[in-house]
């Protein structure tokens, strides 16, 4: 699924990363626990989270995560956005809850990617 489709399905606002909207993601992960994300997430994944701090970007960076969706309308601070720009990570924000956002992407065909 293209990141652009993720954005459309979640009616999400693009915060940064317009140039990468046509990149493909093959799986998704919804979690506020970066410890778990670090242990299980594969590359080319979209990460959905309610957590809004620099460690979310760092975690995504280490895992080669392509895009992050902040749920419940959360808006990252400029320093967090700057980190994402440096790492070519797409940032999106949706008003949906984590549960609803994950449900919509699952319905759209995305899967967890964890064996």
């Amino acid at each position: 699924m293209k990141i652009r489709t993720v954005k459309e399905l979640l009616d999400a606002r693009l915060i940064v990363g317009e140039a990468f909207l046509d990149q493909e993601v093959v799986s998704a992960c919804g979690s506020d626990l970066m410890s778990d994300v670090l242990a299980f997430v594969k590359e080319q994944t979209v990460l959905l989270t309610g957590l809004n701090n620099p460690q979310v970007i760092r975690t995504a960076e280490m895992l080669d995560v392509s895009a992050i969706v902040f749920v419940r309308g959360k808006q990252p601070t400029p320093d967090i956005i700057e980190m994402a720009v440096e790492q070519d990570i797409v940032l999106l924000s949706t008003d949906d809850t984590l549960f609803e956002a994950c449900g919509k992407l699952y319905q759209g065909g995305l899967r967890g990617g964890v064996k």
Binding site: L38, E43, L51, P54, Q55, E61, M62
Partner: protein, 150 residues
């Protein structure tokens, strides 16, 4: 950060890790990832090393009083070594169990402290040594073989 290159193609970088500094946490891992990429190392290995170094760095920021993180790269393998000055791990075997954690509320609020760090470092690396002494500190050495994945 200091860097030196020796004649036998060993690149070494050393980073000081500050306890409790959650803003800077991850910078060493980020720099190391960039270096490995620049050296043209296989993306899968880069990913494994990055995850392990980041977990180790977060461990030091969350649990230790501070220490150093060193990475050595030669054509055959990547080795990272971390040494902190305390407080040390009481029961290393227990700390290696998934889900066992002694992390603070602050670390948990930031999305860490689920007791996955050391097991994840072990999973990512080809060889892991942990030596810890309560009151002294913890030494960790993780090896990643480059030739294995071509």
């Amino acid at each position: 950060m200091t860097q030196e290159t020796k004649e036998n193609l060993v690149i070494t970088q050393t980073y000081d890790i500050e306890a409790g500094n959650f803003t800077k946490a991850g910078e060493a891992a980020s720099n190391i990832k960039r270096l490995l990429r620049q050296l043209g190392i296989d993306a899968k290995i880069v990913r494994r090393v990055s995850i392990a170094v980041y977990e180790a760095e977060m461990n030091m920021v969350i649990h230790s009083v501070g220490g150093t993180l060193k990475i050595e790269i030669n054509p055959d393998e990547i080795v990272f070594k971390s040494q902190d000055s305390g407080p040390g791990i009481e029961d290393v075997e227990l700390a290696m169990k998934e889900g066992y954690s002694t992390a603070t509320d602050l670390a948990r609020e930031l999305g860490f402290g689920a007791g996955m760090g050391l097991p994840n470092i072990k999973r990512c690396s080809d060889h892991l040594i942990i030596q810890s002494e309560v009151g002294e500190g913890t030494y960790l050495e993780a090896k990643f073989i480059i030739s294995k994945e071509g």
